[in-house]
Amino acid sequence: MNERWEHEPDAPGQGDDAVLPVPSDDVLLAALRQAVDARRAVPPEFVHAAKEAFAWHNIDTELAQLTFDSSRAADRLASTRSEAASIRALTFTSARLTIELEVTAESLIGQVIPTQTATIELHTPSGVADVIASDEIGCFSVQPIPSGTFRLRCRALGGIDVLTSWITL
């Protein structure tokens, strides 16, 4: 294959692996140098944030998936939603609840369907950033528009507790 490989067919204790080529000391050390450098190049806070993300594992809540996004061309063509005033419209759907969102110039407005009073939590990766009460027909407004990645958790009577997937506007 190439001259970097050494063969050690007689090395003891290798069994069936005896025919495999093994890297020479110099190749192994060069690979070790690269492995160590690649890890050192990553900022500690980048790694830290990745570890923190695990706090979201197995949240005991019904997940609402993104089923409509006006920024997707296919959705825009098939749209029956009126979105003249909005920059972007999104719909999240779960078995018991649908959450419709519209991004306007100043705020993020939403409605839960079926219409009912609900409590909306704005979650960012670092925790709950805001808690918002909807009106009687499930309308709510988030201000200012979240700048980073976020998700909404909606709670309503009858044990309804629904979490959207992550959103970045």
Binding site: L20, L29, A31, A35, A50, F54
Partner: protein, 208 residues
């Protein structure tokens, strides 16, 4: 193709069942992969890269129990990272000009698919090597880390730091590398074509 690495399969299974230690280990192994792919999208700011990283790991948290092939996790991370990089770049372009699509010269340059494949192979190999290093006896680990330190250190320097005769550094180096070569972590990659490719890759375009 990489042989299915039983270590990754076990880590994914443990993380899926809620084990934070296993999750941290996966992050330690593959954060360099996510990072290196982000760097290929040169239009991304540091803040953008943090956003991409956050999205990628949050998506993995949500999907880790549903991965069809846990051993293919590095490939999944590479694909997801690319998709998130493009999404962040498109969102930035939209903010400049509400609603309309970015013009072709504003669209992200799509990094070479071969380059990304090489990133995945290099990341798998690097992760296995670091895992093998971590399980070596303390003395071996210290010596090998000094031998690859940047800037390089002289044998006299290493001798003083580790309280070891200069004449025994060479033989100890050989013995420690031999232990490393026998590590089960390396078994999954030692006969993989990634080895040759990635070392070339490391000496070629990594240094730019």
């Amino acid at each position: 193709m990489m042989r299915d690495d039983p270590q990754i399969i076990a880590l994914v299974a443990r993380a899926s069942s809620g084990d934070q230690v296993a999750w941290n280990e996966l992050v330690e192994r593959y954060a360099p992969l996510v990072w290196s792919i982000c760097l290929r999208y040169q239009q991304l700011s540091r803040q953008d890269i943090d956003d991409v990283g956050q999205s990628v790991w949050l998506l993995l948290v949500e999907n880790i129990g549903k991965l069809r092939e846990p051993a293919a996790l590095p490939g999944w991370l590479a694909t997801t990272t690319q998709r998130e990089c493009i999404r962040v770049l498109r969102a930035a372009a939209r903010h400049h000009d509400h609603g309309s699509l970015p013009s072709p010269d504003e669209m992200p340059a799509d990094p070479d698919a071969v380059a990304i494949d090489n990133d995945v192979l290099a990341a798998e190999r690097d992760a296995a090597i670091r895992a093998a290093l971590a399980e070596l006896p303390r003395g071996c680990r210290d010596l090998l880390l000094m031998l690859v330190s940047d800037p390089p250190r002289s044998y006299a320097d290493i001798s003083a730091a580790l309280n070891m005769r200069v004449g025994s550094i060479g033989p100890t180096r050989a013995r420690c590398l031999e232990r490393m070569r026998r590590s089960p972590h390396l078994a999954a990659i030692i006969d993989s074509p990634s080895w040759g490719i990635s070392v070339e890759h490391a000496r070629g375009d990594r240094g730019e």
